[in-house]
Amino acid sequence: MRKVLTGFLIYGLPIPLLLYSLTVGPSQGLVFADYWDWGRAALNGNIQESSTKVYVLNNIIENVRLPRVLLTFIIGAGLASSGGALQGIFRNPLVDPYVLGISSGSAFGAALAIAFPFFHINVMAFVLGVASVVMTYSFAFSNNKSSIVAVILSGMIVSGIFTASLTVVQYMSDPYKLQAIVQWTMGNLHHASWDKVNTAALPVGLGIVGMYLMRWRLNLLALGEQEAKAVGVNPTADKTILVGLATLTTSTSVAAAGVISMYGLFIPHLTRMMVGPDNRKAMPANIFFGGSFLVIIDNFSRSLMDFEIPIGIFTMLLGAPFFLFLMKKNKINWV
């Protein structure tokens, strides 16, 4: 029974959820019959000749809701799988995809682009996100070696540097730009567009497929470096590839939707409670459930109130209590 339920949550939920999410939104006055009419018209391919209402609805669904739902799913899947991969690599359940400094690097990049509009925001966010990971790693390496503690410590310092720089930019910006910067750092899926879906889909897709293929290797890495070498595997190559894939995925999602904090931390914990720690099962669960859950959160964030609550904030408000509930219920003892 439990198995069937978790199986449905992971693999059965995405398609109906994505379809349902197309009907969620602040447009008032739309009833089920309208969606029915739209569905029939869309299937027959005669949207153009239909009533104005159907035509407008089609426009909303095609150009506003569909890209948004898709982008949300892609980003949710990307953050969750990156989080799961990095927790395994660093053998640390406290790690999230931002541990290597990606979020603050990207936020600083975006702030720079908003304050001094020489570059495109998303490009700057991506470039500085990747740059922060490169910095974190180059500081952590000494004598061609890097310990997990050194990498995490170095990531915290790099984060600190970029957060401080971000504050400097905020301090110097005029109020309108400051508002834009603050909004960007809170996560902003309401800017979703086909443009963003198209730019995000390929890098995130690449990262997700790569991490999915390496899911069994992740079990080995999670046991430790010595333990990998002991059975004849040099873990450095595997680690580098996985960190690269996670960086690509995370930087792309931050560039597309801003900082969605904690999401990549707690989804891997949720899936671990559902399917166990074996990454062969947990990785697909992260991808599908990670995507679905962010879509659910986003549905609430755009329909619960008259105004939209930024997704980064709402993830915390909705996700954290749910996570705490499960943590208490499952009585997980971390040694």
Binding site: R91, L213, Q226, V231, G232, P277
Partner: protein
Amino acid sequence: MTETAIEVNNLSFRYGQTPILEQVNVAFPANSFSVLLGRNGSGKSTLFNIMAGLQKYQQGSVKLLGKERSKMSFPDCARVLGFLPQFHKSVFPFQVKDVVLTGRAAFSAFNPSKSDREKVGQAIEELGISHLADRPYTELSGGEQQLVMIARVLVQNPRIILLDEPTNHLDIYYQTYVLEKLKKLTENSLTVIAIMHDPNMAFLYADHCFFMKNQTVVTPTAEFDYHASTFLEYVYDVRFTTVMVNDKLLVVPVR
């Protein structure tokens, strides 16, 4: 003629200016159970790390079944040699069978095959821990965890197994259990080499004992007679009295 599993010649190693190994010459015989003894800091673990390929070496030679260690690739080496490091602690509560399965990682790149899973079944059967297969590794006792890690090395199908203090932290039941199993493995043409701290356990189970003192492997001579315990006193810097039990020599420290 006895075959040689690992042959070490003129091996020296230093961390910065500190010498860790100096002119080590030793040959571990094949298909038998050898134990390496010596005081803390005498260089046992470093010698093991070098033999297992965890540590690179500049001077001297290490040959695994006649082939130079530094010229072998990681997967090549994995076919010949399995290594059990000293500390292993899993953060994630993986199931025992999944932990053991990772021992096949050098051979199956992305997904374990059916034969990989069969090897896991055989290995845990051989060590008598089949009943633990579905338990989370983190919930096992120290002795059970050690057996799981030995099974993980066995699924590699190596010719040689190196174990760094396999009986450390184990109660006397698991010490004898592990040593019996290791001894048994040598009957299936496997070479087992272990670092141990208890000379009596080593004398009871090992086919050959090797000793390290002052950064190198030392052998008993006429001057330091093994059986008169003077050699052991030299190795350990402790005074011993000897006891004979069933024609095995055992030692007890003198108070």
